[in-house]
């Protein structure tokens, strides 16, 4: 027996869009130690590029901004 919905269900996107403006913050180390190499590197994450490399992520050690 399903309950009646008393309140409205919500949904909110919490992923920032990948743009020139926020590319660098996304790839910027925050919580990860500075001793970590960033294999993604400035050549791929630079705002000069139109977006972060699709290779950014745990394998490249390119840290998203929430790390």
């Amino acid at each position: 027996m399903k309950e009646a919905v008393l309140e409205k269900p919500t949904i909110e996107l919490v992923t920032p869009p990948i743009t020139i403006e926020n590319c660098k913050p996304i790839c910027e180390p925050v919580c990860a130690p500075s001793i970590w190499p960033n294999f993604c590197g400035p050549t791929q994450c630079s705002p000069a590029k139109d977006r972060c490399s699709p290779d950014c992520g745990p394998d490249t050690n390119c840290r998203p901004s929430n790390w």
């Binding site: 269900p9 909110e12 996304i26 925050v30 130690p33 001793i35 294999f39 745990p58």
Partner: protein, 479 residues
């Protein structure tokens, strides 16, 4: 393996909802789209698009099939997040990580600098002598065991490669102080290159480089990582305790730039340099390197000293997660749910042959290559594999958070912030989210004297101030 048990938790003396083992399972709502339940709210992780959505508890019930809301269900279908399939709980399997990165800490004790915050507590031998600490005199301060010889380092480099590792970093102490049998760090880097390593980096203070060394670094294609603590010479030198070190480091950064050596410049935020952070980032930019926020001091080694920690406002501004900002590419979701987001596949080898899960995890020795006879023998044992497969499901508080499979984690930081306790379970200290209330920015998580987590609201006024200034911390810039 670590025993994974449920726990009880009180927040503000009120009992809160703790997820059961079954509730912790992600629910597949469509191919590659998952609902992850938290104690209060939920998250939809679309691993195809990489998007994460925050949903309230009523939405969780609708998606889990416990409530009906045709309008909402149609909205989700229109967004491509569901397709009418019945939601199915997914068993989370632990991964079997392979070695993929090694920090070769070729010189743990010795450095020409004596930084205030050094995790390895390195310093010049002459300083130790002045302090009355000489090799073997005090085993609690200086490890009396013999250091690995250059031939042993070469054997370990070869063995790491044979085990599948292709990325490494040479670190210390100061790696350019290292010498043995006429060999220096650059010779070990050359050996790693010859063996087949694809990414080789040297982490250094860059004070000891000369033209010949830089030329060799360039020829080998070795990457460099350089510590610079401030644009202000006196501030930098007061941290390194080496007169003129700022001048030596910046001069060599310019030479590295001229030689087009791939170099990153890293800084650590602490009380001594907090007032110069902004200008230091500009300075690094003007030197031609990519500036980015400093790494907030981790309480390890000499860094485990409250007097050198940055003031709370700087910690909040540069170190805390003040709002949701997550992404969920498939491999992130898969990796974080099955192994440790940071530690999986990584090790540090110290100059006495100890294997640590990371450079900051000084008290987590998971084996010794000298005793074990080989690197492989250490990596086959449980301790390192147990750490490699620790996930947020094992971490207090995080295990009840809906973002647990898309959020980064640092175990030595969590342990260090909690008095060195609970390496694998201590709550992550830089998150301000309270998953039991579904709210951000009210405080941070700590362990009480009995080892139970509590939401410490000490920083709440500062968090509110930083948020009202429009600076949501380094994590949410550009969001």
């Amino acid at each position: 393996m670590t025993e994974r048990t449920n726990h009880t938790l009180a927040v503000k003396t009120t009992k809160v909802e703790i997820l059961s083992s079954e509730e912790r399972l992600p629910i597949k709502v469509k191919e590659d789209v998952f609902l992850v339940r938290g104690a209060k709210r939920g998250a939809i992780c679309d691993t195809n698009a990489g998007n994460v959505y925050s949903i309230n508890e009523f939405a969780v019930k609708v998606i889990a099939g416990q409530q009906d809301d045709p309008e909402y269900q149609a909205q989700l279908q229109q967004m491509g997040l569901t397709n009418g399939e019945r939601p199915v709980p997914q068993e989370v399997k632990r991964a079997e990580p392979k070695l993929n990165f090694v920090w070769f800490e070729i010189i743990s004790d010795d450095c020409n600098e004596s930084c205030a915050h050094c995790y390895a507590e390195s310093m010049p031998p002459s300083h130790r002598k002045a302090l009355g600490i000489e090799n073997g005199d005090n085993p609690q301060i200086l490890d009396p065991r013999p250091k690995l010889k250059v031939e042993e380092w070469q054997r370990l480099i070869r063995e790491a490669f044979d085990l599948g590792c292709r990325q490494c970093q040479f670190i210390g102490g100061e790696p350019f102080v290292y010498h043995d049998g006429g060999k220096r760090v650059i010779d070990l880097a050359a050996y790693a290159k010859e063996v087949g390593f694809e990414f080789i980096e040297i982490f250094t203070n860059a004070t000891l480089l000369n033209t010949g060394t830089i030329q060799r670094i360039k020829e080998l294609g070795v990457h460099m990582a350089v510590s610079l603590y401030s644009s202000v010479p006196d501030v930098h030198n007061s941290i390194t305790h080496l007169p003129r070190s700022h001048q030596m480091t910046t001069n060599n950064l310019k030479r590295l730039k001229e030689a087009e050596v791939p170099t990153r410049v890293e800084s650590v935020l602490m009380h001594a340099n907090q007032h110069t952070v902004a200008q230091t980032m500009i300075f690094i930019d003007e030197l031609g390197f990519e500036p980015h926020n400093p790494d907030v001091l981790r309480p390890k080694g000499r860094g485990d000293n409250p007097e050198i920690q940055p003031d709370d406002e700087y910690l909040v501004r540069y170190g805390l997660m003040l709002g949701p900002n997550f992404s969920a590419p498939k491999r992130v979701f898969e990796r974080y749910s099955s192994s440790h987001s940071c530690l999986a596949g990584k090790i540090t080898i110290t100059d006495r042959g100890d294997i640590l899960p990371c450079i900051f995890s000084r008290d987590q020795v998971t084996g010794n290559v000298v005793k074990a006879g080989s690197l492989k023998a250490v990596l086959e044992k449980d301790p390192i594999n147990d750490i490699w497969t620790t996930t947020k499901d094992d971490v207090l508080v995080c295990q009840d958070c809906e973002y647990r499979y898309v959020c980064f984690d640092c175990r030595p930081l969590s342990q260090g912030a909690n008095g060195g306790r609970e390496y694998q379970r201590a709550p992550y200290p830089r998150c301000t989210y309270n998953p039991y209330e579904g709210e951000w920015g009210g405080g941070t998580w700590k362990l009480d004297e009995n080892g139970n987590p509590y939401y410490d609201e000490t920083l709440k006024p500062i968090i509110e101030k930083v948020r009202s200034d429009g600076n949501l911390g380094a994590q949410t810039k550009g969001h």
